[in-house]
């Protein structure tokens, strides 16, 4: 499994210098606008703003964005089809009506707008910045520490899973259903024992650097920008005004 596209984008993003809190406000503001405002044109506007900010000032590479969108696209399409299909009034068999199509279209618009807005945060803010921000916002230290370690170790484990799976594939481990189940079993058990082993070795490694229960580090402060916040609020106000004044 290659590194998640959004993670790669976030660490290279020029928007990393902006405060995570400011970007959370922007992203959540867009998500909520898309959800509560009349879907047309709010969803369209939100999608355009989110994509425009990502590809414009956020300078997210388009190929990473395409790669990141592939995962959610499958589910969004499947869910939309499910909503579009309805029961015939006589109760026998599926059909498609104007109303069900309208519902499906509206949900599709919401999903695209919402996913784009979340991706705006995800593609410009590395997880460690968000966790440092959460710590300052009063999320319990223990939970933030566990989340931080989860984030670090998941890449270590992903790498090892990828390598082990490649080795199993090379030895014909996924050719039959029985072989697949056997491979999945050994892969799961091996991954779990590696996870335990990693945590023990990391504990020993950290003990040498004075780990006595507190996991504090010097996190970079990324101060909130009044301009950024003001621009965000103005943009959200504009989206709301347009959507309320010109509903389709």
């Amino acid at each position: 499994m290659s590194a998640p596209a959004l993670d790669v984008a976030a660490w290279a993003s020029p928007w990393r210098r902006h405060s995570p809190g400011d970007k959370v406000l922007l992203s959540l503001g867009l998500v909520i606008s898309a959800l509560v405002l009349p879907p047309w044109p709010a969803s369209l506007l939100v999608t355009l703003v989110a994509l425009g900010l990502m590809l414009g000032p956020g300078r997210t590479p388009a190929h990473l964005l395409r790669r990141a969108a592939r995962g959610p696209a499958a589910f969004i399409v499947l869910g939309t089809v499910t909503i579009a299909i309805t029961w015939r009034t006589d109760g026998f068999g599926p059909t498609v009506t104007d109303e069900s199509l309208g519902n499906a279209a509206q949900t599709l618009a919401h999903a695209i707008a919402g996913t784009s807005s979340v991706m705006l945060l995800a593609a410009t803010t590395p997880m460690t910045d968000l966790l440092a921000w959460a710590r300052r916002r009063g999320v319990p230290e223990a939970v933030v520490d566990v989340a931080g370690l989860t984030y670090r170790l998941l890449f270590v484990l992903l790498e090892s899973i990828g390598e082990v799976r490649a080795a199993q594939t090379a030895r014909l481990g996924y050719t039959t259903r029985r072989a697949t189940l056997r491979s999945a079993t050994t892969l799961t058990a091996a991954t779990l024992t590696r996870a335990f082993d990693r945590s023990r070795r990391l504990e020993a490694g950290l003990a040498g650097r004075g780990f006595e229960g507190v996991m504090r580090t010097l996190a970079d402060q990324r101060p909130s920008s009044r301009t950024f916040v003001a621009a965000t609020l103005a943009m959200l106000a504009a989206v709301s005004a347009i959507s309320l004044a010109l509903p389709w």
């Binding site: 998640p4 959004l6 993670d7 992203s27 998500v31 909520i32 898309a34 969108a69 995962g71 589910f75 969004i76 869910g79 499910t82 909503i83 309805t86 015939r88 109760g91 009506t97 919401h110 999903a111 919402g114 996913t115 979340v118 995800a122 968000l130 319990p140 223990a142 939970v143 520490d145 566990v146 989340a147 931080g148 370690l149 989860t150 984030y151 170790l153 998941l154 270590v156 484990l157 992903l158 899973i161 799976r165 029985r178 697949t180 189940l181 056997r182 999945a184 799961t188 058990a189 991954t191 779990l192 024992t193 996870a195 335990f196 990693r198 023990r200 504990e203 229960g213 507190v214 996991m215």
Partner: protein, 217 residues
């Protein structure tokens, strides 16, 4: 099976978040207490969270021939108990939303409720019930993994059905539709996941007996 961002109306999103919150807060208290008593358990919990995340990179055999993946909530519940899984599950779902655009922020509450609360509790409940009934350990593990997988999918279908009632069939009709669409893939997958769990514990009993006993198994 994650509900994507934008799929739930604001009220639904809020309601599911409120429903999931007490479990996550309770789990967070457990984690804080655990870490206060044994500081190094941070590392074990972090590794457990990472393990839960990467389980979705493991391929399971499926009927259709396409690949599918274990949900892992049942395995986590047996290994680490439901309260802790509520927190680890919430962290993993947040990471999946932000690293993979899988799931969402406003739908996080609903996803946490089905995958990090109902799934683990149903699985753990089934596991305990089996043991209490005097059934063998592998039966309990099979029940835990397959039922937590199934219950997660039923709850997700209900969440989607409530949010998008069918114009003619109403809520029941749409729940049925979602159940029907996912049943094809999900029931065999639940069986495969249950089977996987039994085999994994058999291997673990041989290669990691100390770890299992330290987890109280």
């Amino acid at each position: 099976m994650h509900i994507a961002e934008g799929y739930l109306p604001p009220l639904h999103a809020a309601a599911w978040t409120v429903a999931a919150a007490p479990f996550v807060v309770h789990g967070a208290r457990c984690v804080v207490r655990e870490v206060r008593e044994r500081p190094e358990s941070r590392l074990l919990l972090g590794a457990a969270g990472a393990f839960t995340f990467v389980l979705s990179a493991i391929k399971l055999p499926s009927v259709t021939g396409s690949s599918s993946h274990p949900t892992g909530t049942g395995l986590g519940a047996v290994l680490f108990r439901p309260p802790v899984m509520a927190v680890l599950g919430a962290i993993v779902l947040l990471f999946q939303a932000l690293l993979l655009a899988h799931g969402g922020i406003t739908t996080l509450g609903a996803n946490v409720f089905s995958m990090a609360v109902v799934g683990p509790w149903v699985g753990y409940g089934a596991y305990r019930a089996c043991l209490r009934l005097g059934l063998a350990f592998p039966v309990g593990v099979f029940a835990a993994l397959s039922l937590s997988d199934l219950s997660t999918y039923v709850v997700t279908s209900v969440q989607l059905g409530l949010a998008h009632p069918d114009p003619t069939g109403g809520v029941l009709g749409s729940v049925g539709e979602f159940l029907g669409i996912f049943a094809l893939t999900q029931i065999p997958l639940a069986v495969a996941e249950g089977l996987l769990g039994v085999l994994v514990f058999r291997v673990l009993a041989r290669i990691a007996p100390d770890e299992l006993s330290s987890l109280g198994l």
